[in-house]
Every structure is written in structure tokens, then in C-alpha cells.
């Protein structure tokens, strides 16, 4: 397993170079720069770009960035003049990560049992019902569900706060009460996907011969399901955890905006639109790292779920 982990981290290096290189090139190919506004005279814009070294050849700028990045210095933001990029992204990342974990937890908590029940009662009302609810969850996007939940639980019933973030330092209860609505909004669609995947996969596995053998052996239905079937049925779900994590991070953009949560999501789009080159690069690096890390976790989980699987070591 250690070899697997080391290998994965080593793979991050080429991924890093390719992704950052392409991103850097394409960002600088986009028209417009960070200092363009409809008011600033073009000559002034040019001088500002010069002051920040943006008129140098692109490859030269990239090497400078690489050199700094190697020392973990991602530079100052061009929009937030003078403030280092890391000062925004790291706190934002922490917040988004917490929101994401709660959302995923919610998704698994609702999705797994729902999928299992649906599979065990295939074709009956539990199955159709669970599928129906799941579909609604997936086709009602966060942009609709968020304000709806906010209106119902916060404005009408007054059970939960309307929006904003309360860190753990403000107390466990404010922390949880502020995080519920955004986590549910973000996790609802995901729980639907998990439910459906679990169902499909469990049905698949339940038809396997070794399940029949277990039944024939006289084992109780429940034992068979839990001990034998579920483990293998979880493979697609585990595989999906990878894209799930990524989806949570990017999907958080909308949820964070609706609930005024100071997460990292906003920087994905805003940094590109404001041509804040150092910010874009930092966001890309963080994102790439998360992807590689989550895939590592997925592969490690594979090891536990199915020791027979060939892991490509």
C-alpha cells in the first residue's frame, strides 16, 4: 500500500506540469488583462501590466511562476492589490472542505440506505418511490433548492439561520445550524446519484452466483446482503467518490454564493473572469492536487473492498 501511495504522489508531478503549463498558456491567450476597465486609459493599462511583468514573453513568466511556486509562493493577487493569493485560497479551501465533507456525509447517509432498500425491493413501491425522489433530487438544481430551503426553513419557519458562515470557534451549535442548509442543498443531488448507483450495482451483484450459493447454504437474507453483496456493490460508489469530491468543490460555487459562505468556489470563475493570473494558477494547482489525492483515497478503498482487484501497482 505504501508503494501505491508514493507512486500516486509521484504522478502528481507530471500532472502538475502539464496542467499548469497548459493553463498558463491558455490564460495568457485570452483577450483582455487584469487591469482593463472601461475607465482606465489604454496607456495606463499598459504601464500597469509592465509594472507587474506581464509584458514579458509568456514562457519567461511561466518559469518565474514555477520558481516561486517551488518555494510555495504563489504570488500576490492582481485584483486584490498586494495581498498574497494564499491568504484568500487557504481559508476558503478550509471552509469549502468542511462544507463538502458535510455534503458528502449527507449524501452517503441518505443515498446508501435508499439505494439498498430500492434494490432489495426491486419493482415494488419502495423502489419506484425511492427512484422518484432521487430523480427529483437530481433534476432540481442547487440554484432552485437553495432558495427554496432558505425560504422554508429560515424565513417561514425560522428554524435555521438564513445564510452566512459560523466557524467552529463560535460554538458547535451555530456552526452546525449554519452549515445544514448549504450542505443539504449541495448533497441532495449527490445523494440521489449515490442512491441510484448503489441500487444498480447491488442489483448487479445480487444476481451473482456466489450470492445464490450463499442463499443455498442457508444464510439469512440479511446476512447475505450485508456481508457479501454490499461490499462488492460499493465499488461503483467508491469510484464515484472521486468525481463526487470534485463536483462538490465546483458545485459549491453556486451554493456558497446563495448562502454567502466564504469558500473557495467563487475563485474558480471569478479569477478567470478578472484575469487574475496568479489566482488562477493557484486555484488550478489546488484543484489538481485534490483530484490526485481523492483518486488515491479511492484506490486505497478499492484495496479494502476487493483485495482481488488488480491495482496496477
Amino acid at each position: 500500500m505504501l508503494r501505491l501511495i508514493i507512486r500516486r504522489f509521484l504522478w502528481f508531478i507530471p500532472v502538475f506540469f502539464v496542467v499548469t503549463g497548459i493553463t498558463f498558456l491558455t490564460m495568457h491567450a485570452l483577450p483582455g488583462g487584469p487591469f482593463d476597465t472601461d475607465k482606465t486609459p489604454p496607456a495606463m493599462v499598459q504601464r500597469m501590466e509592465q509594472a507587474f511583468g506581464l509584458n514579458r514573453p509568456v514562457y519567461e513568466q511561466y518559469f518565474i511562476w514555477l520558481k516561486n511556486a517551488a518555494q510555495l509562493d504563489f504570488g500576490p493577487s492582481l485584483k486584490q492589490r498586494g495581498r498574497p493569493v494564499a491568504g484568500f485560497l487557504l481559508p476558503g479551501l478550509a471552509v469549502s472542505a468542511q462544507l463538502g465533507l458535510f455534503a458528502m456525509g449527507f449524501a452517503l447517509l441518505i443515498g446508501l440506505p435508499a439505494g439498498i432498500i430500492a434494490a432489495l425491493h426491486r419493482g415494488r413501491w419502495q423502489d419506484r418511490g425511492a427512484t422518484f425522489v432521487a430523480i427529483l433530487g437530481v433534476s432540481v438544481p442547487p440554484i432552485v433548492m437553495g432558495p427554496l430551503l432558505m425560504w422554508l426553513f429560515a424565513l417561514q419557519l425560522g428554524w435555521l439561520p438564513v445564510a452566512q458562515w459560523a466557524g467552529l470557534d463560535e460554538g458547535i451549535i451555530p456552526y452546525l445550524s449554519h452549515i445544514i442548509l448549504p450542505a443539504v442543498t449541495l448533497g441532495a443531488g449527490l445523494s440521489a446519484i449515490i442512491a441510484r448507483l448503489t441500487r444498480a450495482s447491488l442489483l448487479q451483484v445480487l444476481g451473482e452466483d456466489y450470492i445464490r450459493t450463499a442463499h443455498a447454504k442457508g444464510l439469512a437474507r440479511r446476512t447475505v446482503t450485508i456481508r457479501h453483496a454490499l461490499r462488492n456493490a460499493l465499488i461503483p460508489v467508491v469510484t464515484y467518490l472521486g468525481p463526487l469530491a470534485a463536483a462538490v468543490l465546483t458545485g459549491s460555487l453556486v451554493v456558497e454564493q446563495i448562502f454567502a459562505i466564504p469558500g473557495m468556489g467563487r475563485y474558480f470563475v471569478s479569477s478567470i473572469t478578472s484575469r487574475d493570473y496568479p489566482m488562477v494558477m493557484a486555484v488550478v494547482v489546488i484543484y489538481a492536487f485534490i483530484i490526485v489525492f481523492v483518486n488515491l483515497v479511492v484506490d486505497v478503498l478499492y484495496l479494502f473492498i476487493d483485495p482481488r482487484m488488480d491495482h496496477g501497482l
Binding site: W11, I193, L197, I235, V238, D310
Partner: protein, 334 residues
């Protein structure tokens, strides 16, 4: 064939014999037996008809505005102007346009995106994942790292670049364009702006499918039936297509159908930043995005497109379930 003579012979055979069918014929037959499936197929067929002949179903033009009636509730009748006498079946949007008619015209865009997006992503993704999962570890590793790279790259940048390039291109006179450039512009124009939407969606969506498929393949390729086939000397292609595919495809179909709303929202986002269909041409995704903010004052702006989307999703999903069940070799004997 054997069956007729067997039946004629009556009690001679111990078990009833059957005509041999291909996997796909069998699937089709089983599918059509389920009433839910039939309803779903009919609904999707209806959508396709609406997409091809929207003017037949719509009650007004999709871009006819009527400012005094903006946000009008369903059932309101227009008193004056170009739309005088018209009833808003599903209410009016923020510029007074008929939501029902916009929904009808929007079907074309949304259905194309849903069907084609799903089909392309599924085909590419499943093939890639199948191949990667079954290959030697080194090849698998490289293929999966490519997936990681594409995944980590912010495609938004590429999309904006594409949009800027295309706009600049479209402004040029036809004589000034090179052959490739002209081909691209024509493709885009003929598809109503959707070509680049598919490009953008297709570029990223197959990744999840690939990963999912690969994970499934990694599990199933250790199973006895695969080993048996290998021993017998079946070619890799046969093993992948005939043995692995029907077993791994179940969750893949489900995942693909679940990804459809994301294609629709991606299309809405793309049209917002200038790629794809331009306003006032509607699409379900952009109608939902438009209605955001009016949730408390005029919920019908979001309600109806979301309903349409949900119904379509239900149809796709039940159909997907049925296809999965029908393809499942274990269920064949029932």
C-alpha cells in the same frame, strides 16, 4: 426451426425450447413488455416530435415580448398589444413572453443536448474505461493519468477562448477565412450554435464514465467467467464486448442518465457567456437560470421548466433501469 416441430411433437421435450436470439434482440423484447418502459418511450418520442415541430405545439412566438405583462401568472389574458387575447398557459417571463411557448421551443435545444451529450459521453467514456481497465497496468495508469489531467484543467478557460475565437471568426467576411475556419463556422451555424456546446460538454463529460467503467472492469476481470473465456482463447475484443460489457454496463447507464441535467445546465451557462444558442432562443436550462430570483414572486418561471426537466429525467432513468435489467445476463431466465 426446432420449436415448431417440438411443439407439434407435444410432450416429447422435457423443457420448452426457444428460438435463439442475440443479446440485443432479447433485450428489446423484454423492454417492450414493461408498461412503464412503453410510457417512457412514448414520452421521449413526444419530446422529439415537439422538438422537430415546435410551431405546431406553441401558442405564441418565443420572442414576442409584452412588457406590461412581465411575470404575469398562469391564466392571465393579455389585453393589448401584439399578443392581445392570448392566454398565458404557464404564465409570462420577465419580459412578458409566453413560458409555455418558450418551453416548447426550448425542447429542441435541451433534447439535443441531453440525447447527444449522453450518447457521446457514454460511447467515448465506456470504450475508454473498458480498454483502460482491461489493459496492462502501465497502460491503464497512463490512461487514467490523462483523465486526471483533463479533469484538473479548468475547461472554462478553453471555453472562453473558443467563444472569443468564434466571435472574431464570425465577423470576418467569408472570403477571408481559411477552409478549416469556414468549416467550423458552418458547422456552428448549421447546428444553431450547438456544435461548440457539444464540443465543450463532450470534452469533459466522458471522464466520469471512463472512470466508472474502469473501476467496474477492474473488479470483474478477476471473475471466473472472464478467466474461463481467456483460457478458451477468446480474443480481448470479444471478452471486452461480449463478457465484460453487459456486466459492467449497469451502473454506467444509470450514471449517464443522471448526468443529463448537468449537460442541460452546462448548455445554459455556455449560452450565458456567449457560446451556444443566443438569447432570445430559449432552452430549459437558461429558463431555469432566468427564473432564479423570482422564486418568491413568480415561481412559475422556474416551476415549469424544472417540471419538464424532471419528467424527462424520470423517463430517461426508468428507461435506463429497464435497459440495465434487460441486459443483465443473470435475469435472462425469468
Amino acid at each position: 426451426m426446432v420449436s415448431s416441430s417440438a411443439q407439434a411433437a407435444g410432450s416429447r421435450a422435457a423443457a420448452p425450447s426457444r428460438r435463439s436470439r442475440t443479446l440485443w434482440q432479447d433485450t428489446l423484447r423484454r423492454l417492450l413488455r414493461d408498461p412503464v418502459v412503453v410510457i417512457c418511450v412514448l414520452y421521449l418520442a413526444l419530446l422529439i416530435v415537439v422538438a422537430i415541430f415546435p410551431s405546431f405545439f406553441a401558442t405564441a412566438s418565443y420572442d414576442q415580448t409584452s412588457f406590461p405583462n412581465n411575470f404575469a401568472a398562469p391564466g392571465t389574458v393579455v389585453s393589448e398589444g401584439k399578443l392581445a387575447g392570448h392566454t398565458y398557459w404557464m404564465g409570462a417571463d420577465k419580459l412578458g413572453r409566453d413560458i409555455y411557448s418558450r418551453l416548447v421551443y426550448g425542447t429542441r435545444v435541451s433534447i439535443s443536448v441531453a440525447f447527444l451529450g449522453a450518447a457521446v459521453s457514454f460511447l467515448i467514456g465506456v470504450s475508454y474505461g473498458l480498454f483502460a481497465g482491461y489493459s496492462r497496468p502501465r497502460i491503464d495508469n497512463i490512461m487514467m493519468r490523462i483523465v486526471d489531467i483533463i479533469y484538473a484543467y479548468p475547461t472554462l478557460i478553453l471555453i472562453i477562448l473558443l467563444q472569443v475565437f468564434l466571435t472574431a471568426l464570425a465577423q470576418k467576411e467569408p472570403e477571408q477565412m481559411g477552409t478549416i475556419e469556414r468549416m467550423l463556422v458552418d458547422l456552428d451555424r448549421n447546428s444553431g450554435g450547438l456544435f461548440f456546446v457539444f464540443l465543450a460538454i463532450g470534452a469533459v463529460s466522458w471522464l466520469n464514465m471512463a472512470r466508472l467503467t474502469r473501476g467496474q472492469v477492474m473488479h470483474y476481470k478477476q471473475q471466473e467467467f472472464v478467466q474461463a473465456a481467456q483460457v478458451v482463447g477468446a480474443s480481448d475484443r470479444r471478452i471486452m464486448g461480449r463478457h465484460l460489457l453487459p456486466n459492467v454496463i449497469g451502473p454506467c447507464i444509470v450514471a449517464e442518465t443522471l448526468a443529463i441535467p448537468s449537460y442541460i445546465y452546462t448548455e445554459a451557462f455556455l449560452s450565458f457567456i456567449g457560446l451556444g444558442v443566443q438569447p432570445p432562443m430559449p432552452s430549459w436550462g437558461s429558463m431555469i437560470a432566468d427564473g432564479y430570483g423570482a422564486l418568491r414572486t413568480a415561481p412559475w418561471l422556474i416551476l415549469f421548466p424544472a417540471l419538464a426537466l424532471s419528467l424527462t429525467m424520470l423517463a430517461f432513468n426508468f428507461l435506463g433501469d429497464a435497459v440495465r435489467d434487460a441486459l443483465d445476463p443473470k435475469l435472462r431466465d425469468r
